[in-house]
C-alpha cells in the first residue's frame, strides 16, 4: 500500500490495521481510541478498497474518509497521509 503524502510504499498483509502498518513504516498517523469509535484516525483514500475489521465489509471510493484503526487493505490501497 502507498502513503501518498509521505511517499512511503510498503507491502502489508490484509489483516493488520492500516494504522499499525503506517506507524510501523514511520508514517505520522493520526489516532485516537484505536477501536473505531472516536473518528480520530480518519484519512482519505485515494484509490483501492479497504475492509472493516469489525464487520468484514469491503468499501472504498476516491476521497472517502476511512478509519485506519479498524480498516485493513482489501486491495492495493493509496492513503493520503
Amino acid at each position: 500500500m502507498r502513503f501518498t503524502r509521505s511517499g512511503r510504499t510498503i507491502a502489508g498483509d490484509q489483516a493488520t490495521p492500516l494504522l499499525i502498518l503506517g506507524e510501523d513504516a514511520g508514517v505520522v498517523m493520526p489516532s485516537g481510541c484505536r477501536m473505531g469509535i472516536c473518528f480520530g484516525c480518519v484519512a482519505p483514500v485515494r484509490s483501492g478498497q479497504v475492509r472493516d475489521l469489525r464487520t468484514n465489509q469491503v468499501h472504498g471510493e476516491a476521497g472517502e474518509l476511512i478509519q485506519t484503526c479498524i480498516s485493513t487493505a482489501a486491495t492495493d490501497v493509496e492513503l493520503e497521509l
Binding site: P17, I20, G32, C33, F39, T55
Partner: protein, 385 residues
C-alpha cells in the same frame, strides 16, 4: 470466583460468563449492523430538518432581539436563542462531531469540518470526549469526566477538604459550563504530570482563546451593536441564552453517568477487556432519562445515554428506535437498565455531589481473575473473528 473452563466477570450489578459477554456483544453488533444497513434518506432528512429549525430559531431570536428594549421581544428572543444554542450544541454539534452523520459524505455536516457555538474548539473536545471519555467510560482514574477533575464523584477518588464546597462550585460550574469544558479540554493535569509539553499546551490555549474571542465578539459585541438602542438588553439576552444553555447541558450531562444504579470501574477490572466487555461497561456505566420526544431532541438524545454509549457513531434519531431492543437484551441477560424521569435522575446526580463532598471509604473491589494484558497497539480484541 472461577469455575472450571469458565471465567466469571463480577461487576457489582452483573454476573456474566465470558460466553455470555460475547453473546451480548454479538447481539449488540447485530443491532448496530441493522442500523448501518438501513441508514438513508429518512435519517438525512431528520438532521437537515433539525438544522433548519435551529437556524430558524437563531435567526428569528436574534432578529427579535434587535428590539430587545421591549420586554416581550426580549423574552421571546432570549427563549428562541436559548433553544437555538441548545439544539446546535446538543442534537446537532455533539452528534455531528461524533461522526454520526459522516456517512452522508456531506462536507458541511461532518465531524471533520463542523465547528460549534461553544467556547471549546471542536478539535479539543473531540479528543477528550470521543476518544478518552468513550474509551475509558466510568473507569476511575482514567475517565476524567468523573467529576471533571474538580468534583469528587466516586468513593475511589481521594477526598480533599475543598470537596466540602463542591455543591456550591458545581452550581457555579453549571452557569459557566462552556468555559469549564474549554478549560477541562486543555487537560492541564497532563502538563502538570509531564504527559504533555508546554509547547502543545500553548498551541491549544491559542486555539481556545481564538475561539473564545470569536464567540464573545459575536454574542457580546456584534449583535448588541447591531441592536442600536437595544444594545444593552441584547447583550444581557445573549448572556442569558448562554447561561440557559450551560445549565441545561450541565444538567443533562450530569444525568448521564451519575444517577444511582450506574456502575463505576477500576483500571484493573478493565484489563484485557474484549469488545463484548466494552459494550457491557458502556451499558452498566450509563443512565437514560425518560421523557417526551421534545426532551429527547432538546437533550441531544443524551436521554438515550445507554444507546449512545453503546453506539456513539450511530445517528441520534435511531437511539429511541433501538432502545426497546437494548432494554430487551438487558432483560435477557439479567442486566440493569438505569433510567428515570429528568427530575429524578438530576436529583440523584446532585445527591451524589453532596454525598461525595464528605469523606467516605473506598468501595470493596470486585475480585476478578486477571486476564492477559491487551497489547497497546492491538485492535484484535475488538475485531470480529
Amino acid at each position: 470466583m472461577t469455575e472450571q473452563g469458565t471465567v466469571l466477570m463480577t461487576y457489582a450489578t452483573a454476573r456474566l460468563s465470558d460466553a455470555d459477554i460475547e453473546a451480548l456483544g454479538s447481539e449488540l453488533d447485530r443491532i448496530r449492523a441493522d442500523v448501518v444497513a438501513s441508514r438513508g434518506e429518512r435519517d438525512a432528512s431528520y438532521i437537515h430538518t433539525v438544522i433548519k429549525v435551529q437556524r430558524g430559531l437563531e435567526v428569528g431570536g436574534r432578529t427579535l432581539l434587535l428590539g430587545s428594549l421591549l420586554p416581550p421581544l426580549w423574552l421571546a428572543g432570549t427563549a428562541m436563542l436559548s433553544a437555538a444554542k441548545i439544539l446546535e450544541n446538543m442534537e446537532i454539534g455533539h452528534n455531528v462531531l461524533h461522526g454520526q452523520w459522516d456517512w452522508m459524505r456531506d462536507p458541511e455536516i461532518h465531524s471533520t469540518t463542523w465547528e460549534w457555538d461553544l467556547v471549546t474548539p471542536a478539535a479539543a473536545w473531540k479528543h477528550t470526549h470521543n476518544d478518552l471519555h468513550h474509551t475509558w467510560t466510568n473507569v476511575v482514574g482514567r475517565d476524567r469526566d468523573i467529576g471533571y477533575t474538580i468534583i469528587r464523584m466516586s468513593e475511589d477518588q481521594a477526598w480533599r477538604p475543598w470537596h466540602l464546597a463542591q455543591p456550591a462550585y458545581n452550581l457555579l460550574l453549571a452557569a459557566v459550563f462552556e468555559w469549564g469544558i474549554a478549560l477541562f479540554d486543555l487537560e492541564l493535569d497532563d502538563v502538570v504530570h509531564g504527559r504533555k509539553s508546554k509547547r502543545e499546551l500553548f498551541d491549544q490555549v491559542r486555539a481556545v482563546l481564538g475561539k473564545a474571542i470569536r464567540q464573545a465578539a459575536k454574542d457580546y459585541v456584534l449583535f448588541p451593536l447591531l441592536s442600536g438602542p437595544s444594545a444593552v438588553p441584547t447583550l444581557v439576552a445573549n448572556l442569558t441564552a448562554n447561561v440557559v444553555r450551560n445549565v441545561w447541558a450541565h444538567t443533562i450531562i450530569f444525568c448521564g453517568h451519575f444517577p444511582d444504579g450506574v456502575e463505576q470501574f477500576t483500571v484493573a477490572e478493565v484489563d484485557g477487556e474484549t469488545r463484548g466487555g466494552w459494550y457491557l461497561r458502556q451499558l452498566l456505566g450509563s443512565a437514560n432519562i425518560d421523557g417526551s420526544r421534545l426532551l429527547h431532541v432538546l437533550s441531544g438524545n443524551l436521554s438515550h445515554q445507554i444507546e449512545h454509549h453503546l453506539f456513539p457513531d450511530l445517528p441520534s434519531n435511531r437511539y429511541a428506535e433501538i432502545a426497546p431492543q437494548v432494554r430487551a437484551l438487558c432483560g435477557r441477560f439479567a442486566l440493569p437498565y438505569t433510567t428515570g424521569p429528568l427530575y429524578h435522575q438530576a436529583a440523584s446526580a446532585w445527591k451524589r455531589v453532596f454525598r461525595m463532598a464528605f469523606p467516605s471509604h473506598p468501595r470493596p473491589s470486585h475480585p476478578r481473575p486477571s486476564h492477559p494484558r491487551r497489547e497497546a497497539a492491538a485492535v484484535a480484541p475488538y475485531a470480529m473473528a
